[in-house]
C-alpha cells in the first residue's frame, strides 16, 4: 500500500488500519455473542444481502451470483436484522439454544473511497461454527460493505455477503456473517 492521502488528508494507511480494527472488533462482537452491539454497526437504512451462488459454466459467469429480485439466502433491512437478534433473547430460538460456537476470521481488506466521504470495502472471511456436540461447518466467502461516517463512527449501510458454496452444507444459517 502506498502512502497516498484521500481528499481530506487522511492517509490510506491510517484509514486501512482504522477499518481493519473495525472489522476485528466486529468479529469479536459476533464471537463473544454481543449481537446488540453488532447490530449497532449498521445504519438504520441498511441493506444486508446474501445472494445465492450458482454453479454455472464459464460462459455464464454473469449469472453466478443471483441478483436482487431473485430469491436470496438473506435479504434483510434493519427490521429483519433486529428480528433475528431479538429472537435469540426470547429463550425459544431452538436453532441457537444451545448457541453456536463461532470464530470469524476476517482479512484481505481493500478499501475504495466513494464520493462524499463514504467508503466501499471488501473483505474475505472464514467462519467456523461448532454446534451441539459434534456439528461443524466452515463457511468461506467475501463481504462487500458500503460505510458512511455517522457521529464520528463508521457504520455499514450496505453489506453483500457472497458465500463460496453452491449447496450449503449446513443444517441452517442461524449465525451471522
Amino acid at each position: 500500500m502506498t502512502a497516498q492521502t484521500f481528499e481530506d488528508g487522511v492517509s490510506q494507511i491510517e484509514l486501512w488500519h482504522e477499518l481493519m480494527q473495525f472489522y476485528i472488533n466486529e468479529a469479536w462482537l459476533l464471537d463473544d455473542r454481543k449481537f446488540r452491539e453488532w447490530l449497532d454497526l449498521f445504519t438504520d437504512d441498511v441493506f444486508y444481502f446474501m445472494p445465492r451462488r450458482l454453479n454455472v459454466g464459464r460462459h455464464d459467469l454473469d449469472r453466478e451470483v443471483s441478483e436482487v429480485g431473485d430469491l436470496a439466502l438473506v435479504e434483510d433491512d434493519k427490521t429483519y436484522m433486529t428480528m433475528r437478534v431479538d429472537r435469540l433473547d426470547t429463550g425459544m430460538a431452538w436453532s441457537e439454544d444451545p448457541p453456536s460456537r463461532t470464530r470469524h476470521i476476517v482479512g484481505n481488506l481493500v478499501i475504495e473511497p466513494l464520493p462524499g466521504g463514504d467508503l466501499k470495502s471488501k473483505t474475505a472471511f472464514i467462519l467456523y461454527r461448532s454446534h451441539h456436540e459434534t456439528d461443524e461447518n466452515i463457511f468461506a466467502g467475501s463481504r462487500e460493505d458500503h460505510l458512511r461516517n455517522e457521529d464520528g463512527r463508521w457504520r455499514i449501510y450496505k453489506r453483500v455477503v457472497v458465500l463460496d458454496s453452491n449447496v450449503i452444507l449446513a443444517k441452517n444459517l442461524s449465525v451471522f456473517f
Binding site: 430469491l71 439466502l73 450449503i168
Partner: protein, 447 residues
C-alpha cells in the same frame, strides 16, 4: 392386496403407532428410491426456470440427476443426466442455454431432445457398428400443472391429472388462480441432516407451530404487528386438514375475499396493498375457480406425495439420513412489484436455510430421524394417535377431512400411502381415488 401379504406394515391405523425404522434403514431407503421415486409423479421444475428455447435447468428425481430442457420447438423434456456410453454426467451446471450436450469424457454429443447426434470415430473406431439411435438419453414422462413441471420414470403411471386427482381442487386455490399464471424464484439449496419423510410429514403438522416457531412468532408480532399463533387458536380453528388421493392439504377460511392471505411477507404496514390486489383480481379468480375457491379459501401448508413440500419446494433424498432441500418462492406473474418484493423477502427470510422459522425445524427433524438408529430406541414406536377416529367425509370438501385443524390424520395417511407404494408390484396395485370434486370455473390442469 391382502394384509397378510404386506411386506411393510409400518403404520397402525387403529392405534397410530409408527415403526421408526423407515427413517434410517438403508435397505428400506434403497427400496424407496425404486418403488416411490421410480414410480411417482415428482415435481422437478417450473416453466419459468426455462423461459427461452434451449434453456436447461438441472434438477433431481430422487437421487438421480436430471436435465430439464426446453427444445427449440418449446417442448419440455426430462433426461437422466447420464451419458449412455460409460455413465458420466453430461451436464455439470445448475442452469444454462445449450442446443447440445457433449460428454466431457469421450465427446459423445446429444441434442436437447435427447438424441445421440455425434460419436467421435463412429466409422473408424466403431467400424460403423454402433446403433446410435438406441443410445437416446434416458427420458422421463413429463406433464405440467399450472406451469409446474412433473416427471415420472414409470410408463405404467396414470396421467398427472389422475395422480393429483381431487387434490388439484385445493391446489388450484394457490397455484392456478389467474390467467397469467405463476413464476418461481430460487432455489436456495442446502443439506438437511434428516430423512426426507420428516420434512413432508411436517407439512400437515399444525401442532408444532406454536412450540417450534414460538421465537419467530413473537418477533414477527413485535415488528410486523401480526397476531400471535397459539395452541388454542390452532385447536379451535375451523380451518380444514384434508388428505386427498395421497396428498396432504390444509385449507384456511378467509373472512373476506380480499383478505391478505396469511403468508410470510404480509405485515400490518403493507396489508392494504395485498387487499387491493386481491380485490382487483377477484373477478378473474372467480371466473377461473368459482366463488368458494376464489374468495373463501386460502391454501395453507400442504405436501404432494412423495416429496413436494409447502408450495413448490422439494425434499430430494440423499441417503436415509440426509435430504437436499430446495426452497423456491412462487409468485403470481401479474403481481405488482411491491407485492412480489414483500413475498420474496418474507418467504426468503422466514423460510429457507437462514429463515427464522425454518432454521428451528432442523434439529427436531434430525431427532425424529435418528430416533431409529439404535436397537433400544427402535423398540419404541412413534405415536401418531392425535385425532384417531376423528376424520371422515365432508359435504363441502373432497378427501378425508379431520374434525380439527390440528390432527395427525394426514400424517397417518401419508405413511399409509407410503405403504401402498412400497407394497405394490406395479402401478396396478396402487389405488387412485376417482375425481369427485366440483371444479367450478374455467381453470384446467394446464392453467
Amino acid at each position: 392386496m391382502a394384509v397378510s401379504n404386506k411386506k411393510y406394515n409400518v403404520i397402525d391405523l387403529e392405534t397410530g403407532k409408527l415403526d421408526s425404522r423407515i427413517f434410517s434403514d438403508p435397505d428400506i431407503y434403497q427400496e424407496e428410491l425404486e418403488k416411490i421415486f421410480g414410480r411417482a409423479w415428482l415435481m422437478i421444475g417450473h416453466d419459468s426456470l426455462v423461459p427461452e428455447v434451449n434453456d436447461f435447468f438441472h434438477t433431481y428425481m430422487g437421487e438421480d440427476p436430471v436435465i430439464l430442457t426446453k427444445d427449440d420447438k418449446g417442448k419440455i423434456h426430462a433426461f437422466l443426466n447420464m451419458c449412455r456410453h460409460r455413465g458420466n454426467r453430461i451436464v455439470r451446471a445448475d442452469i444454462g442455454n445449450a442446443k447440445n450436450f457433449m460428454c466431457s469424457y469421450h465427446g459423445w454429443t446429444y441434442s436437447n431432445e435427447g438424441d445421440l447426434e455425434y460419436v467421435p470415430g463412429e466409422e473408424e473406431a466403431y467400424y460403423g457398428a454402433l446403433d446410435r439411435k438406441s443410445f437416446h438419453l434416458v427420458e422421463a414422462r413429463v406433464e405440467t400443472y399450472a406451469g409446474i413441471v412433473f416427471a415420472t420414470w414409470d410408463p405404467g403411471a396414470p396421467s398427472l391429472d389422475e395422480y393429483l386427482g381431487d387434490a388439484r381442487w385445493g391446489l388450484d386455490v394457490f397455484f392456478n388462480r389467474l390467467d397469467s399464471g405463476t413464476e418461481v424464484v430460487g432455489p436456495v439449496k442446502w443439506i438437511e441432516p434428516i430423512n426426507w419423510k420428516t420434512a413432508v410429514d411436517n407439512c400437515s403438522d399444525n401442532y408444532h407451530v406454536p412450540t417450534t416457531h414460538l421465537s419467530a412468532i413473537i418477533v414477527q408480532g413485535r415488528h410486523f404487528g401480526l397476531p400471535r399463533t397459539t395452541h388454542e387458536q390452532q385447536f379451535e380453528s375451523p380451518n380444514k386438514h384434508l388428505f386427498i388421493n395421497g396428498h396432504s392439504l390444509t385449507l384456511r377460511f378467509l373472512e373476506r375475499a380480499d383478505q391478505a392471505r396469511q403468508t410470510h411477507g404480509v405485515t400490518q404496514e403493507n396489508r392494504a396493498l395485498f387487499e387491493e390486489y386481491y380485490r382487483e383480481t377477484l373477478p378473474e379468480a372467480e371466473r377461473r375457480l368459482g366463488s368458494l375457491r376464489a374468495g373463501k379459501l386460502q391454501l395453507g401448508n400442504h405436501s404432494l406425495f412423495p416429496n413436494g413440500v409447502l408450495g413448490f419446494r422439494l425434499a430430494h433424498p440423499r441417503g436415509p439420513l440426509e435430504t437436499e432441500f430446495w426452497h423456491f418462492v412462487v409468485l403470481e406473474k401479474g403481481m405488482p412489484d411491491e407485492i412480489k418484493r414483500a413475498l420474496r423477502i418474507g418467504n426468503g427470510n422466514f423460510n429457507g436455510v437462514a429463515g427464522i422459522f425454518e432454521q428451528d425445524d432442523m434439529d427436531n427433524w434430525r431427532g425424529v430421524t435418528r430416533s431409529s438408529l439404535t436397537p433400544l430406541a427402535r423398540k419404541y414406536s412413534h405415536d401418531l394417535s392425535m385425532g384417531l377416529g376423528r376424520a371422515g367425509s365432508d359435504p363441502d370438501f373432497p378427501g378425508t377431512v379431520a374434525e380439527r385443524y390440528t390432527s395427525e390424520n394426514n400424517q397417518r395417511n401419508f405413511y399409509r400411502r407410503w405403504e401402498e407404494f412400497m407394497n405394490a408390484e406395479d402401478w396396478a396395485d396402487i389405488p387412485i381415488e376417482p375425481v369427485t370434486a366440483d371444479f367450478e370455473g374455467t381453470a384446467t390442469l394446464n392453467g
